[in-house]
Amino acid sequence: MKFKRFILWSLLLSLGTFVSVSPAQQPAATTPASIEAVQVIGLACVKQNTKGNLKVESGSLTFASSKNTCQVPAASIQDVVTAADSQRVIGGTVGTISRLAPYGGGTALSLLRSKVDIITIQYRDPNGGLHGAIFTMPVGAAESIKEALLAQGAHTSIPSQAKLTSDSPLQSEAMEQTN
């Protein structure tokens, strides 16, 4: 008898936790959490190659570094393009100095590379001037940022992968065949 009660109580408790967790997860699915990114070039308020957090919220793309926060309204973005690349694991000044390592050590270090996603945006300022910005981020993050931007009013010359597959399965099959 005691054993049955114990099972019942544990079932009830586990249900309770599920109920309390599920509503908290819902907003995370609609707005992606901030992603660690590097602003390569383009934003006026931060220097080139600045690390920070990138997120899409309340109709704008926000890049927050340790010193500054820049916002680009999603509606002013006229093109969002994603791409993939790789970069040296040890970069910057240390990476440059490491090339001088003896016995081909520098070359060996340059073989250590990590894959990154690139997101490129083009947007207009209030005067109509065209700006561009490039961000690099961990693999798989760029597409979610792009989709969030498109949902909030940004435009793109290349439709996102998710939209392509939902629009026409034949089209996506043709794309896979070409690739």
Binding site: V40, I41, G42, R99, L111, I118, D125, L130, A133
Partner: protein
């Protein structure tokens, strides 16, 4: 003792004399203030399949370099409404004519292969659309740096060309110095 004193006095005198021209050679503030403005149009990929990040990096680096050392009083971006009111506006049109995407890894390993190069046809026109200058400028990264560094190289060369030939404080253009090929 007397000779030592004389020598010391003579040394002090010579040192003072040599200091006089140095004081006179203090840098004068530049008198020729730049007056012309330039509007930078977005880089056109033309028939070349140019990745979007290269297109944007070329444009942004070009704007930054022209602001830094172009010698123009004002640098406008593509579509900026304020450019319409500029008195002597020069417009820079750029079209990509050649692009070879190298590999940073190959450059690191071989040190001779994997270079990235971008050749861009630059056309400077006045407000009426008259061509003032046409140049083919190539940006390269041969050894150290990622592929996008070629865009920075191009921008520096283009800004040097603009500064040497078109800006109000321009000096004689030296093609060897800025590394461009004259088209006209």
């Amino acid at each position: 003792m007397k000779t030592i004193k004389r020598a010391t006095i003579l040394c002090i005198f010579i040192a003072r004399l040599s200091a006089v021209p140095a004081l006179c050679e203090q840098p004068h503030p530049s008198t020729g203030s730049p007056a012309a403005a330039i509007e930078v149009q977005m880089i056109q990929p033309g028939e070349i399949n140019l990745p979007a990040e290269f297109q944007v990096a070329l444009y942004e680096n070009l704007v930054q370099e022209l602001q830094k050392k172009g010698g123009f009083s004002q640098v406008y971006r593509d579509g900026d409404r304020n450019a319409a009111g500029a008195f002597d506006l020069i417009t820079l049109h750029t079209t990509v004519t050649g692009f070879k995407q190298g590999s940073e890894l190959k450059r690191d390993v071989t040190t001779v292969g994997g270079a990235t190069s971008i050749t861009i046809h630059c056309q400077f026109t006045d407000k009426e659309g008259k061509v003032l200058l046409e140049r083919d400028i190539t940006g390269k990264v041969k050894l150290i740096g990622d592929n996008l560094r070629a865009t920075d190289d191009f921008a520096k060369k283009a800004a040097t060309v603009a500064q040497e030939t078109l800006s109000p404080d321009s000096t004689s253009a030296d093609p060897k110095k800025s590394g461009y090929k004259n088209v006209i």
